[in-house]
């Protein structure tokens, strides 16, 4: 455990120590400075990029949750033709790697003129995250006894009412799981942001960092400071929801 902890935490320690050095101190290997942190805001529009990442993340996750909850409930509790086949098709989509479909996706989104707005990236992220979300919510709602749904119906609810007033409050662990996993994935993603958010004012933090690293002279301490700022929200979200995450991820395992 200790060895694992050291292996996992060492890169963070290096990032933190390096970020508190100037370029010269970094090469000299000694001394501390807050210069790179002060430089960060002036070198790149970091606040705007953080805001962009937040907007794209929030909108994508909202879409993923809404579609996932409704489809998951339908797959788990409603009976209709070809439900299993459709579910299988959707779940299979989880296995398709992003890189293999990124070009056709880009062409499609570009044709709709959505590469210079948040919407294009949001739709792509939502499309990529929804299969997992549907899978998880279906698994979750299948564990909700049918009698509970029927009790709700006898109590005067329709299926919508059962979903929003009974099933959804019970699905909080699944909602937390999807939120955390998708947040980490979308927040840390570079490729979609790079391709589908072409307006510089709408770039997310990961694209900003990539630009920082791609300059002719790269300041490593500056890059470390930026990377820390970028990694912090994902870490906080993970730590905050860790409890639910474990419950949510073991949904299909325990009974």
């Amino acid at each position: 455990m200790t060895v694992m902890a050291v292996v996992m935490l060492y890169p963070f320690a290096v990032m933190i120590v390096t970020s508190f050095k100037s370029q010269a101190q970094y090469f000299a290997g000694s001394g501390t400075s807050t210069q790179s942190w002060r430089q960060l805001a002036s070198t790149m529009p970091i606040y705007q990029q953080l805001l962009n990442s937040t907007i794209v993340c929030s909108a994508s996750i909202a879409l993923i949750l809404v579609v996932g909850v409704m489809a998951g409930f339908a797959f788990a509790k409603l009976q209709y033709r070809f439900a299993n086949l459709i579910f299988l098709g959707i779940v299979s989509a989880m296995m398709v790697p992003l890189q293999s479909i990124i070009m056709p996706e880009f062409v499609n989104v570009a044709r709709f003129g959505l590469t210079s707005s948040y919407l294009g990236a949001v739709l792509v992220y939502a499309a990529l995250g929804t299969p997992f979300s549907i899978f998880l919510f279906t698994t979750y709602f299948r564990r909700v006894p049918d009698e509970l749904v029927e009790a709700g119906i006898c109590d005067g609810l329709g299926y919508w009412g059962v979903l929003w007033r009974l099933a959804l409050p019970m699905a909080l662990p699944a909602i937390a799981t999807v939120t955390v996993l998708q947040f980490i994935q979308i927040w840390d993603d570079l490729l979609v942001g790079l391709l589908f958010l072409q307006n510089p004012a709408e770039r997310p933090i990961t694209v900003g960092l990539a630009a920082l690293a791609a300059g002719r002279t790269t300041s490593i301490p500056l890059l470390m400071a930026g990377s820390l700022v970028s990694a912090l929200p994902a870490m906080l979200v993970y730590l905050g929801f860790q409890r639910f995450l474990v419950r949510g991820l073991t949904l299909g395992i325990d009974r």
Binding site: P145, E147, G152, I153, G156, L157, M170
Partner: protein
């Protein structure tokens, strides 16, 4: 309050499986009707059709004079109690009980009043702020009842609500549910596979098998006058003894032969039963375990038997006897109308007093209570008793 009427109701699932076949049954206002039968007999399906949770393939279900085939469950004004209680885990006991009223936009003060009243009836007042997971099985069952009561519905539907409770609690809740139902006087359909529940709780009991309703009657009537071998064997614990016997005429008397023994049938049975066509052939002879006793004198109908097994239950002893007839299970040659052949075990059980002196292997003489003989058609399994005028 309202009566519930099934009129030639049929339920056929996709794939052609018929769960309920031509069910006609009326549950009167305020009546406690128990649907009983073995697993898969269609009793729960029938209940769910009243609730609107299953579509009706054919026929009609009416509640309070209105056909509800196409009425949504929420508009049927019925309350259902489920086998696993189906309490909402995220709500407190009070919220669970008041939820249906909240959905119907009943004012909060009225909801509180009704919930408190129901909680008082069910002795749940101190648990109103707890969540279901903090309650015992019996308390959860009472909450499920409370959720139904506060609705003040036109009918209660209960789907094996006691089957998840332990034996002692089940007995307690049996009387509790009966008390509440009598107090509220709401038409109730109660589904169970437990014939003890059926006998103790119902005003009338409907016995089903393979989707077919076999008999509807008051519990004692059902016990005393089963319409066929299935009902005779299903109601009662231990069930009625059913023995394939010969029926012959000797010197003007009708004689029942069991193995190599025989007894003269009292003449009253000639009038009360349609036995004449079977004289010279076979009938199925039925006798309840409590109508067999150890003979003390020379009078009455008596048969010699060997005690094969003895079970002492404390308050009584069960003696498993052999009358010397063919051993094993005897199946009828023709299947009944619901497709299953009749099965009759030739071993006989007698319910004896707690102090009865019997031992395994002992030869005994049994006295048969000749006021309570039953006779069934060996081919169809139907009773040979004439219907009461």
């Amino acid at each position: 309050m309202a009566e519930i009427v099934f009129d030639r109701v049929v339920k056929t699932y996709a794939g052609g499986v018929t769960a309920v076949s031509d069910l006609s049954l009326t549950v009167a206002e305020g009546e406690f009707m128990v649907l009983v039968g073995p697993s898969g007999c269609g009793k729960t399906t029938a209940l769910r059709m009243v609730a609107g949770l299953e579509e009706i393939t054919d026929g009609t279900v009416a509640i309070g004079g209105t056909v509800v085939n196409n009425v949504l469950p929420k508009d049927r004004d019925i309350a259902m109690v489920f086998q696993n209680y189906a309490l909402y885990p995220q709500m407190t006991v009070g919220q669970n009980m008041g939820f249906a009223l909240k959905v119907r936009n009943v004012p909060k003060a009225e909801i509180d009043r009704r919930v408190r009243e129901a909680a008082q009836i069910l002795r749940l007042t101190e648990y109103l702020d707890r969540r279901p997971k903090a309650l015992s099985g019996g308390q959860r069952q009472r909450v499920a009842m409370g959720r139904a009561i506060v609705r003040e519905p036109r009918a209660f539907l209960m789907d094996e609500p006691l089957s998840n409770l332990d034996a002692q609690l089940r007995v307690e809740m049996r009387t509790e549910i009966t008390r509440i139902q009598r107090m509220l006087g709401v038409a109730t359909i109660y589904v169970t596979h437990d014939q003890t529940e059926a006998m103790t709780m119902g005003d009338r009991v409907a016995v089903m098998r393979n989707g077919v309703l076999h008999q509807v009657a008051a519990p004692q009537d059902l016990y005393d006058h089963p319409v066929n071998e299935f009902v005779a064997g299903f109601i009662g614990s231990p069930p009625m003894n059913l023995i394939v016997a010969g029926l012959a005429e000797e010197a003007g008397e009708w004689v029942v032969r069991i193995g190599d023994q025989s007894f003269v049938l009292p003449r009253s049975y000639r009038a009360s039963h349609r036995l004449a066509p079977f004289v010279g052939g076979r009938v199925v002879f039925g006798i309840r375990p409590e109508d067999l006793s150890l003979a003390t004198g020379e009078e009455g109908v008596r048969l010699a038997a060997v005690v094969e097994l003895r079970e002492a239950l404390g308050s009584e002893k069960l003696a498993y006897l052999s009358f010397g007839a063919d051993e094993g299970i005897v199946e009828s040659e023709t299947p009944t109308d619901d497709g299953a052949p009749l099965r009759r075990r030739s071993r006989v059980v007698a319910r004896l007093g707690a102090r009865a002196d019997v031992a395994e292997g002992q030869h005994v003489t049994m006295s048969l209570n000749d006021a309570h003989f039953h006779f069934f058609d060996p081919d169809t399994g139907d009773t040979l008793r004439h219907a009461a005028p």
